[in-house]
Each structure stands twice: as structure tokens, then as C-alpha cells.
């Protein structure tokens, strides 16, 4: 049977073949996973990785803590058992080791640090979703030394860092595009927070509200999945109890609603002072010109000295919070530990210890809330107020007021205590605290950091990119004698908004704007009487390859144009090409610019 016959037979089978083909297409179309669905799968995996990374950090931290104190108990219990000089020595040595780790890491991996970031927020918001592995491990090791030896700093920082690093590595391994890598790092951060606080809903909203700045389903969905999976894995590994289980509350009288509704006002007004206090500590330490290891040792020594007075200042404040809510504390005891804890946290944070201030902030809010509750109990004993209830509401309100994320704070307060009865009070007070804080403070805890990093990153990117690298050669030009017909024809043929007008020596004379002529393009009567010189803008801005990108951006704002002409020199004005906003944006986003109409400067002959 020859080929023609064979083909004929195949064609006779075509109806069945077509039906099968149609069925196959139908199945494939319905089973085909979109990018969003694929992201969900990776988000779940990141949840597992995040929880495992957090658990590894916890175990290692416990081990170092045992080596440092000889005790397997919690940090506060261990410190209670230590002699006075050991209470001073352990955090000091811990700080020194943490500082030495950072110092060595900075020396060894300086080049790595310049190219990639170690900060997960930066990687999500302005970076390429790539977090430096070596520098992250250095930071985490440093945090291990500080946290294990009792420094008053939260361990949620390194937990989130490691979890985000795992997500970043996965994104790099799978060669995902930048936006997807960023999203996966955000999932990693959410997984880290969820495993640190066993609070998956609040973790997703923390990342969405504070870091991404948006609560939309497209971005929130994967965050929620990563958080829930991470929280579930953490619960399997070390139990599913809420971190600060509520002792359970009842309102004895409806009159108590009045003082309870004012918790947010009090905390909202205190929060700006707390933020400034932390910033002042940071500024004071930055003025001390000593090597990093010594600086962190000083931070540790301050905590150690305070621990001699009261070992409760050690650690992130997690155990202290549980104790506050479940044991009877007198107001003077609360005030004393609050003041000590504030100084200890400021010393640790200011000296540059790697870690978070979220848990210490929770403690400060709870302590102030409890002091307020004690005052209410003293002033109106008939209300029979439970100060712990004020403490929990205060904790949530203070987080709302310091982070500028009331939604996350409400959810966090609820998830940390799992007490539904307290949820309405949390909701009201978190919102009130947020608004009260906003009267005095517009720079919230993470927003300021993000703003600073964002600006620094953007400026660095701008400084690195050169106009020369982005110039496209051979722009569309016309002589100044070009007729209106030629101008119209050129605009029709090309999709540029401006045509550059040049003389015989290719000197830039001006530009004709499509915006100016578009309503006249269909008027043949103009063809013979109007030339380019009649309608060109002689003051059209231009740039030279020697100028910086920030100057180019400034010129773009003047010209209101997608493209700017590039001249070899601002005196000679010889046109060599053009530069477009899109190419700059793509370059800043780390993408290569698409094919333009012209060759690129210095790349092709």
C-alpha cells in the first residue's frame, strides 16, 4: 500500500479521530492548571518547608540555650536558676558571639550581600524575590546566639527569615518569573509567622496588610494556604494549643463596656511614644562607634544587668505574657517588669541584634492594658473588672497602633487567645487604637523600614542603570521642511507619540507631538501649507548618555512622553537615539527590555 492510499484510509477514520481529539482537548483544557492554581500548590509546599525551617530553628535554639545555661527549661526559668554573674555573662557572651557571627559574615559575604537581599520584606516588595542564602544563614546563626542566651528580642524574625529563604530557594530552583518568586517569598513569610504564633489567619493578613499592602483574593489565597499548612505542621510537631490561651471572660455589668472601649484610646496614644523610644535607642547605639561584636555584647550586657534585678526581662516575653494572663500580678509588679522590659528590648533592638520586636510589643501592649485594667478595678471596684481581659485587648490594640495594620491585629488577638467573647472588644479597640496612633505617628513599625529599604533599593537601582545601556538607536526623524502629509504618514506607520525633527547634521531641533496634530491628520488642505517647523516643539526635553537616570526621570515628568530623545551632548544636540519609560521600568524590574524599533546603543553595530 503506497503512501497516498494510507493517507486516504487515515482520512476515512477522521470522524472518530476528531471525536477523540475533541475529547482529549476537552479533558486537557479542564485539567490544565493556570499559574494561580500552580502557585497554590507551591504555597502548600512552602507551608511545609516554612514550618520545618521554623521547627529546626526552635530545636537548635533550645540546644544552644541548654549549652549556655545547662537547663532545658524555658529562658526565664533557666535564668532564675543562674547565679547573678551568670545572668550578666550569658547574654553578654551571647551578644558577642552574635556580633562576631555578623562581623565575619559581613567580611566573607559582602559581595553576595550587595547583589541580593537578606530581608524578606525587601525581597517581596522591591526585590527580585531572591534572598541571599549565605547571608540569611549568617543572620539566623547570629539570632540563634542572641535568642538562646536570653536577649529580649523576638524569635519570629529569624523564623520568618528562614521560611522566606526556603520559599525563595524554591522559586529560584523552579526558575519562576520575578512576580511569582516575590509571591512565593510572601507565602514563606506568612508560613513563618503562622508557625511562630500558631495563627494562620493573622499570618496571612500580616503579609497582605503590612508587606503587600493589599488584601485581594489573588494574593491572599496562596498566603492563607501556606499559613494554614505551616500552622498545621507546627501543631503536629508540638501541639495545637493557642499561644496565650484566654482564661475566659464575662462582663459582670454592661457599665464595663465604657472603660473597656477606651483601651484602644490609651494604647493608641502610647504607641507613638513606644515607636519613638525604639528609634531613639537605635539612633543612640548608631552613634557609638564600636565594632559590631562589642555593640551586641553591650546590648546583651544591658539585658544581663537587668536580669540580675529581675530574670523575667529575658527572652522575647512569651512566657511572661502567659504568666500575666493566668497569674495574679500586682500593679507595681506589672509596672516594674514593663519598664525593665522596655529598656531590655530597646537595648537589644538598638544594638542591632537580629530578631523581631513583635512579641516584645505584644507584651508591652498587654502590660499597659493590664495596668489600665488595674486602674479601672481600683477606681470602680463594683465593675469587678478582670485586668487580664484588658491585657488581651490592650495587646491587640497596641499591635494595631504600632504596625498600622488593625485587621491583622484583630485576627492576631483572636487567634492567640481563641476567645470569641473578646473578639468584639478587640475589633473596636484595634480600630480606635489605629486611628488614635495615626494622629501623632504616620510611620508605623514595618512601614518605616519598608519605606527606607524601598527608597534605598530604588535609588541604588537608579544609580546603577545608565542611559547609555537603554538607548535605542535610529529613532524616527524628519527634517524641519517635512510636509504635513509626511508627518501624518509617519505617525500612521509608527506608533510613537513624537517624531523628532533634525537638521542635516542630525542635530535635534524639536519634536512634533501626535497629541497636537491628531485632530488634523485627516485634513488634506494642510498638506501643502504646513511643515514640521511650523508645529514642532522646540523646547522638547532631551537627555545625554552622560546624565544620570534620575535626571532622565525628571525630564520624563516634564515631557509627558513615553520616549525621550537622546543626544550625544547637550551642547551639540546631535541625536543618537531615544530612551523609553517602559525600558527603564523593565530594567528596574530586572527584566530585559523587549524588542524595540531600533538597535541598542553599544550592543549592535
Amino acid at each position: 500500500m503506497d503512501k497516498t492510499e494510507e493517507n486516504k484510509q487515515k482520512r476515512t477514520l477522521s470522524p472518530l479521530f476528531r471525536r477523540l481529539l475533541r475529547l482529549k482537548v476537552w479533558v486537557v483544557e479542564r485539567l490544565r492548571l493556570s499559574e494561580r492554581q500552580v502557585t497554590l500548590i507551591w504555597a502548600a509546599l512552602i507551608g511545609v518547608l516554612g514550618a520545618l525551617a521554623s521547627e529546626s530553628f526552635r530545636k537548635t535554639s533550645d540546644f544552644i540555650h541548654y549549652l549556655a545555661t545547662g537547663s532545658e527549661s524555658s529562658i526565664i526559668t533557666s535564668f532564675v536558676k543562674l547565679a547573678w554573674w551568670q545572668r550578666l555573662a550569658v547574654p553578654t557572651v551571647g551578644g558577642l558571639l552574635a556580633g562576631l557571627t555578623l562581623w565575619l559574615g559581613n567580611r566573607l559575604f559582602a559581595s553576595v550581600r550587595q547583589k541580593t537581599t537578606t530581608d524578606y520584606m525587601e525581597a517581596i516588595v522591591v526585590g527580585s524575590g531572591i534572598i541571599s542564602v549565605r547571608a540569611s544563614l549568617v543572620k539566623s546563626l547570629s539570632a540563634l546566639f542572641s535568642i538562646s542566651t536570653g536577649t529580649s528580642i523576638g524569635r519570629e524574625g529569624p523564623l520568618v527569615q528562614l521560611s522566606s529563604l526556603a520559599a525563595s530557594l524554591l522559586g529560584r530552583l523552579r526558575r519562576f518569573p520575578i512576580p511569582q518568586r516575590r509571591h512565593l517569598v510572601a507565602c514563606g513569610a506568612a508560613a513563618g509567622i503562622a508557625s511562630a504564633y500558631n495563627a494562620p489567619i493573622a499570618a496571612s493578613f500580616f503579609v497582605a496588610e503590612i508587606i503587600l499592602g493589599t488584601v485581594v483574593v489573588e494574593s491572599l489565597g496562596p498566603l492563607i494556604l501556606a499559613s494554614v499548612v505551616a500552622a498545621f505542621v507546627s501543631q503536629v510537631l508540638h501541639g495545637g494549643e493557642p499561644l496565650y490561651k484566654s482564661p475566659g471572660f464575662n462582663l459582670h455589668t454592661r457599665w464595663e463596656l465604657i472603660p473597656l472601649s477606651c483601651v484602644g484610646v490609651v494604647l493608641g496614644f502610647v504607641a507613638p511614644a513606644y515607636l519613638r523610644f525604639l528609634r531613639t535607642a537605635e539612633r543612640l547605639f548608631s552613634k557609638v562607634d564600636i565594632p559590631i561584636p562589642l555593640k551586641l555584647a553591650v546590648g546583651g550586657a544591658v539585658v544581663g544587668a537587668l536580669a540580675i534585678l529581675n530574670p523575667d526581662v529575658c527572652g522575647n516575653g512569651q512566657g511572661l505574657l502567659r504568666s500575666l494572663f493566668h497569674q495574679n500580678w500586682f500593679w507595681d509588679e506589672i509596672l516594674a517588669i514593663l519598664l525593665l522590659k522596655l529598656v531590655a528590648t530597646a537595648a537589644a533592638f538598638g544594638s542591632g541584634v537580629v530578631g523581631g520586636v513583635f512579641t516584645p510589643t505584644l507584651f508591652v501592649g498587654a502590660a499597659i492594658g493590664m495596668l489600665y485594667g488595674q486602674t479601672v478595678l481600683y477606681v470602680a471596684p463594683d465593675l469587678r473588672s478582670d485586668p487580664a481581659m484588658y491585657g488581651i485587648v490592650g495587646m491587640g490594640s497596641f499591635i494595631a497602633a504600632t504596625t498600622g495594620a488593625p485587621l491583622m491585629a484583630i485576627l492576631m488577638g483572636f487567634e492567640l487567645t481563641l476567645d470569641y467573647a473578646i473578639a468584639p472588644f478587640l475589633m473596636v479597640n484595634c480600630v480606635v487604637a489605629y486611628y488614635c496612633s495615626g494622629i501623632f505617628e504616620r510611620r508605623f513599625m514595618y512601614g518605616e523600614s519598608l519605606e527606607r529599604k524601598g527608597a534605598a533599593f530604588f535609588n541604588q537601582q537608579l544609580a546603577e542603570v545608565s542611559i547609555r545601556d537603554l538607548v535605542r538607536l535610529d529613532p524616527i526623524t524628519l527634517p524641519k521642511s517635512a510636509t504635513f502629509a509626511q508627518i501624518a504618514e509617519t505617525f500612521v506607520q509608527h506608533r510613537f507619540q513624537h517624531i523628532y525633527i533634525v537638521d542635516k547634521e542630525k542635530r535635534l531641533l524639536g519634536a512634533v507631538s501626535l497629541h497636537d496634530v491628531k485632530t488634523f491628520l485627516d485634513r488634506p488642505e494642510l498638506e501643502s501649507v504646513v511643515i514640521a517647523a511650523d508645529i514642532m516643539n522646540e523646547d522638547f526635553p532631551c537627555v545625554s548618555p552622560r546624565q544620570g537616570m534620575s535626571e532622565a526621570l525628571h525630564k520624563f515628568s516634564e515631557a509627558n512622553s513615553e520616549r525621550l530623545p537622546v543626544v550625544d551632548d547637550l551642547n551639540s544636540h546631535r541625536l543618537i537615539g531615544s530612551i523609553s519609560k517602559t525600558d527603564i521600568i523593565l530594567h528596574l524590574a530586572g527584566e530585559k527590555s523587549g524588542s524595540g524599533t531600533g538597535r541598542q546603543f553599544g550592543k549592535n553595530p
Binding site: K480, S481, D516, V517, F520, R523, E525, L526, S528, V529, V530, I531, A533, D534, I535, M536, N537, E538, D539
Partner: protein, 150 residues
């Protein structure tokens, strides 16, 4: 569509009837002279230089014997116009011109210029219209002839 702005500008134009000149240069100079002391003209010599400069590059002429000498210069604060009829045609380049519209326009008003040229050119496409316009003795009769259309 009639441009209200262009109509207003035409009404504000200076009219010179029966302009006689031996050359395009002389005709333009006479028209420029009519702008002496015009409130919108800041520097007549600069306007004059810009007009002749533009004439040198490519004299704007429209079929039927119409010239549009003009200049984009900041020596005028807004669009100014002088209209001249020339029953005895004057040679502009290779065309005998019977109607001249001299226009001065600020540099940032290129769109006004386009609008005005387009407006004028659309109304003077027919020979009979040009004939009527050339016969006008003053601005009102010129405007009437202009408004009558083809």
C-alpha cells in the same frame, strides 16, 4: 465643523484691501507694517525676521493663489492676523497670489495655527469663493463673502 475660535480670530484680523506690491517681500513688509503698535505684537522686527525666515524654507502656498506667510515666534503674545486682497496678483515663488493671510503665532500655540490654517484653507478651496473674497473692500464684506462659502 466651524471653529468658533478661528472665526473670532478672523474677525479680529487687520484687513488690507487692494494690496499692491512688486514682490512677495514687499507685500509681506506692507502687511507687517499694519501690525505696528498692535497690542499683541511685542517685537515687530523679530516677527518680521521670523516670517521671512519661514518664507525662505518653504513658502506656504495654497492652490488658487493664496499665500499664508506666517511665523511661530514669541514676539506675539497671541495669534495675530493680517488679511490682504490683491486684485493685481503678486508673484510668490512660482504662484500668482491674490489673497494673503499673514499670521503670527506664539511658539506654544502650534495647535491654534493648525486650526486657523485648516479653517481658512477649507473655506477657500473654490475659485468662485476666492473671486468674491478678492473683491471685498473692507473686513465686514470680506467676512460676509467668507461666510457665504462655496
Amino acid at each position: 465643523m466651524i471653529s468658533r475660535k478661528s472665526v473670532e480670530q478672523l474677525r479680529a484680523a487687520i484687513f488690507i484691501g487692494n494690496l499692491e506690491a512688486k514682490s512677495d517681500r514687499e507685500a509681506i513688509l506692507k502687511m507687517l507694517g499694519a501690525l505696528q503698535g498692535h497690542p499683541q505684537v511685542k517685537d515687530l522686527s523679530e516677527l518680521s525676521a521670523a516670517t521671512f525666515d519661514r518664507q525662505q524654507s518653504d513658502p506656504p502656498l495654497f492652490p488658487g493663489g493664496i499665500a499664508f506667510p506666517h511665523a511661530r515666534t514669541n514676539s506675539v503674545s497671541s495669534l495675530v492676523m493680517v488679511v490682504a486682497t490683491c486684485p493685481k496678483a503678486i508673484r510668490f515663488s512660482d504662484m500668482l497670489v491674490r489673497l494673503i493671510f499673514l499670521i503670527g503665532v506664539p511658539k506654544n500655540a502650534g495647535a491654534d495655527y493648525l486650526e486657523m490654517i485648516s479653517f481658512l484653507a477649507r473655506h477657500v478651496r473654490e475659485d468662485q469663493v476666492i473671486d468674491r473674497l478678492v473683491k471685498a473692500e473692507d473686513l465686514p464684506s470680506f467676512l460676509t463673502a467668507f461666510a457665504d462659502g462655496p
